[in-house]
Amino acid sequence: MSAPVFIAGTGAISAIGYSTAACLAALKNEAAGIGEMHYLDSVHRNELPVAEVKLSNEELSALSGLAPHISRTAQLGTIAAKEALANAGIHDVAQWRTGFISANSVGGMDKSENFYKAFLPDPSKGRLRDVVNHECGTVTEIVADQLGIKDYITTISTACSSSANSIFFAARLIRNNILDVVVAGGADALTKFTLNGFNTLMILDSEYCKPFDENRKGLNLGEGAGYVVLVSEKVAATLQANPSVKLSGYCNANDAYHQTASSPDGTGSYLAMSGALKRAGLQPADINYINLHGTGTQNNDIAEGTAIKRLFEPHFPKMSSTKTFTGHTLGACGGIEAVFSILSIHNGIVYPNLRLETPMSALPFTPETKLVTGLDIKHVLSNSFGFGGNCSSLIFSKV
């Protein structure tokens, strides 16, 4: 049951790049992807900055091979998942028992929004092709069909922790000898539904977000997709490139405090992080880098920070929130940040937590504000916490 699960490949698309390599270059160059809204057609265009993938649906379609009218979420997912499989050097998924475990928060909502405009005044109106892919699972299947994966397919939706849970579940399917290879992660496109939803909660920053800053005002939404290819030891041995990272720890806990807010002491976050350490057989001092959930809301950052203080004091690892680059990509963030965590190990670097000016007075630590290079990163903890109290932490370790 504790057989190792290796990371054989990664794929990512976000506001800072359309591939893993492009994202890494932007992270190193401190080039954030947040800006004015161009592709999402919302009345909040001039008030709320977002982190869009700077490609139209037609341009995404050229990269994904899907028709342009298919949900943007499926387009993003296909591009990143294909990259992950190619990066792993797995060209024939039929060779193994292969699964695709994806995550998203609102399925094909970007198209359902258009459908509803015509449907609402007259239920016999609206193009069905715009609502046929509304379900979260349908978006996953569009991608799975593109990858040719059919042995096991499922979708997880636990708000902002969705894709961390999909990676977690994938690892367990391998450890239980149900699958050999799993492409796992998540995808989410920006939608008006989500933008307006977060806006009603008054947790969107009208400026660029400042996670873990005393004067933080909220989050910026982003979009993208991130996938990792998890493989068993048996598969790893057949790959040309020996995997150098494994998923060593994971834990899922519930804050059980409020439908949208985190408990002040970060109970769920603490349980997720401490559970992942226990699973990996590691001590807090073994962690070299924490990829923070770090959304930039008052509530998340103090809850997450308090839980980190309780667990790690006095030996704080380096930390940063890469949402300062990509915005909060919701159902995709666990996948994208898993890719960034793996890159941190590969490259011995820690990314900057951009725009951090005044560290939070309640916390005894400060995230990194500049790129740090030349490190020996052995263990990275990646946090994903969401609505509904769903908290998950993953630990990636150097082999």
Binding site: M1, S42, V43, H44, S105, G107, S112, E113, Y116, K117, F119, L120, P123, S124, L128, V131, V132, E135, C136, G137, T138, T140, E141, K150, Y152, I153, T154, T155, I156, S157, T158, A159, F169, R172, L173, N176, K192, F193, N196, G197, N199, T200, L201, N252, A253, N254, D255, A256, Y257, H258, Q259, T260, T267, G268, L271, G386, F387, G388, G389, N390
Partner: protein, 351 residues
């Protein structure tokens, strides 16, 4: 592993552990809505007003199930829903479109996320344990069940609350009718399966189970095995999957006393079941279940509840209309398929 307790809100009188389908509800029309209980016994009155129908159904079914299991704090809560909280999604989406993204209230958005029901259950119980939500069409319940079974097998949980919830809304019913899923006239009621035509009837439900590693006095049945397969190439591929499933479970077809299958009265859908009945499943007593609960992606949870009840009662209700007479009631095989693409097999046996 053992099915220790159940809680099921469905279009039948399934809630409250009364007699099994003694007088089945014969719904008119192509929309089988759940028969809902008085929620006051299960949910704070202030919360009832705020919660949408699917959340109330889910929380009440889960509460009933935990009460039967005499369990305060399950080691894990896992839910499956294909459509999620459609009513709240529709409310927020509708207002957003009508009010052109202005003056919106957050409640419907907050309650629209797919993990709302699992989260509300955890909140009500103050349960900090593992909590997951699967949202994969006709595999939503099966994925949740697999997660639960693995948690028990891995030893990370000794008991798991696992369930499935899906609701019909006016909008979803209108859209799925336009897509051709449902019969437009001649609503067949309980004769759904014996009057095959184009289209089926819409269903919904909230069914929860407590699965446990150890046996208890209240157990319904043992859940022996689960398998799903996606878009099989044809009848031969389906037979191969069924054969492999049974052999991996160490069971012969002859050992199966009853098959509960997922036919839904739609001519375009039921061929596979009819063919299997004259080939692989020949001479095995078989019955459908969707005449009771309607068709929806997580209907297999109703089938698991039905099989569990039959094994616990050691009696098949007459309304089930089984083809043939089971020699014994030890093993039930559930074979469901949703839209011909999502196939699932569940093997349940008497304790």
């Amino acid at each position: 592993m053992y099915i220790r307790a159940t809680g099921n809100i469905s279009p039948q009188q399934s809630f409250g552990h009364g007699p099994l389908l003694e007088t089945p509800v014969d719904h008119a029309g192509n929309r089988l809505n759940c028969i809902e209980p008085d929620y006051k016994e299960f949910i704070d009155v202030k919360l009832i007003r705020r919660m949408s129908r699917i959340i109330k159904m889910g929380v009440a079914a889960a509460s009933e199930c935990l009460r039967e299991a005499d369990l305060q704090n399950p080691d894990a809560i896992v839910t499956g829903t294909a459509y999620g909280c459609l009513e709240d999604t529709g409310i927020f989406l509708g207002r957003m479109v009508e009010q052109q993204e202005t003056l919106l209230a957050p409640t419907a958005f907050i309650q629209s996320t797919h993990n709302t029901i699992g989260a509300q259950i955890a909140l009500q119980l103050q349960c900090n344990n593992y909590n997951n939500a699967f949202v994969h069409r006709g595999f939503s319940f099966e994925s949740a069940l697999l997660d639960a079974m693995l948690l028990l097998k891995e030893g990370d949980a000794q008991n798991v609350l696992v369930g499935a919830i899906d609701e019909i809304t006016n909008a979803s019913h209108a859209i799925l009718t336009r897509m051709g899923l449902y019969r437009r006239d001649n609503a067949p009621g309980l004769n759904l399966l014996t009057t095959p035509q184009k289209g089926t009837v819409a269903g919904e439900g909230a069914a929860f189970f407590v699965l446990a590693n150890d046996p208890s006095a209240t157990d319904y049945a043992k859940l022996d095995a689960l398998h799903t397969f996606y878009k099989p190439a044809g009848k031969e591929a389906i037979e191969k999957e069924i054969g492999r499933f049974l052999s991996e479970a160490g069971v012969e077809l002859n050992d199966i006393d009853l098959i509960i299958d997922g036919r839904n009265g739609d001519l375009r859908h039921d061929d596979v079941f009819t063919e299997l009945q004259s080939s692989l499943f020949k001479n095995i007593p078989t019955a459908g279940f969707k005449q009771f609960c309607g068709e929806f992606p997580t209907a297999s949870a109703f089938a698991l509840w039905l099989a569990s009840r039959i094994l616990k009662d050691a009696k098949i209700p007459a309304a089930l209309n089984v083809s043939g007479e089971p020699a014994a009631l030890k093993k039930i095989l559930i074979y469901n398929n949703h839209l011909n693409s999502h196939h699932s097999l569940l093997l349940v046996s008497a304790c």
